[in-house]
Symmetry: C2
Amino acid sequence: MISTRGRYALRVMCDLARHGNEYTPLKDVAEREGVSLKYLERIVPVLAKHRLIEGVQGRGGGCRLTREPSEYTLGEILRLTEGDLAPVACLADGAPECPRSGECPTLHIWSGYYKLTLDYFDGITLADLLRDTAGGVKARGKAGGSPC
Amino acid sequence: MISTRGRYALRVMCDLARHGNEYTPLKDVAEREGVSLKYLERIVPVLAKHRLIEGVQGRGGGCRLTREPSEYTLGEILRLTEGDLAPVACLADGAPECPRSGECPTLHIWSGYYKLTLDYFDGITLADLLRDTAGGVKARGKAGGSPC
DNA sequence: CGCAATACCGACCTTTAAAGTAGGCAAACT
DNA sequence: AGTTTGCCTACTTTAAAGGTCGGTATTGCG
């Protein structure tokens, strides 16, 4: 399951992308996206530290992207915020070799799934994400539930 | 991340498959697979309840598969033990429609990933799993770590 | 200059799920 | 009778998710 950190990160990146290279205050992003400002302030710095975005403090400041939306892959963003995308610990980045790896009947399966996952998310850019909603599927009201 | 429940379930199914239609005690499975018997006893009943396996109690009893290994998909096993395979709550089985679904830029992405996941795991059978280890890649010792 | 707006940072809190344990009952065989 | 087995319920422990709070540093504006 992708956690809120990764999901919010994607939405923040989208939101920033929509505002070109203006500096956009996180407060505005939080309001538009309906998530807590304080929580965003914990998620965003890691993106800034890795130069996916840049922030300037003070009045009139905010955050903005450092590249074109087409130059970000979702995989890149998710790896920063979610940690590893490996489906099992054995395959995670710094994991020690599993002692069962030779006899493990499932290792290939997880490995294949991992590759599938990476290929999928690394094959989608932020620009793709923006295009998807540009068409604007109409919202179907209904009662509340779990926001993405 | 796939949890131990799902991973152990796959390994139990493999183990049972290797013993044809003998009844195999969970104790033996636990020993061979190096996992706690007590924990297996919590995972297995759900497989029995859905008739993926059948168990007989008492001396000489144990568990065995109810079908040919080629007739189980990993998806089926994982859905029972892991719950839903949806990457986000919005897409989970009984989830209420997300109020943002119309404007959510990421929904298509998760949906696509979900489909990918289902296709992958539903496209692999238990028989495939057995075949993978039959060839027998040699174990590479190394120091301990996270068993699958 | 002082004030307000902003990003950034560290410590803390609450709730939930994962992972496993303990003990006992019910069936089935020897 | 006694042992082996599956099965069930309740409990514990640990870690992670998801968030809050308060403060600090920086910057523009009047």
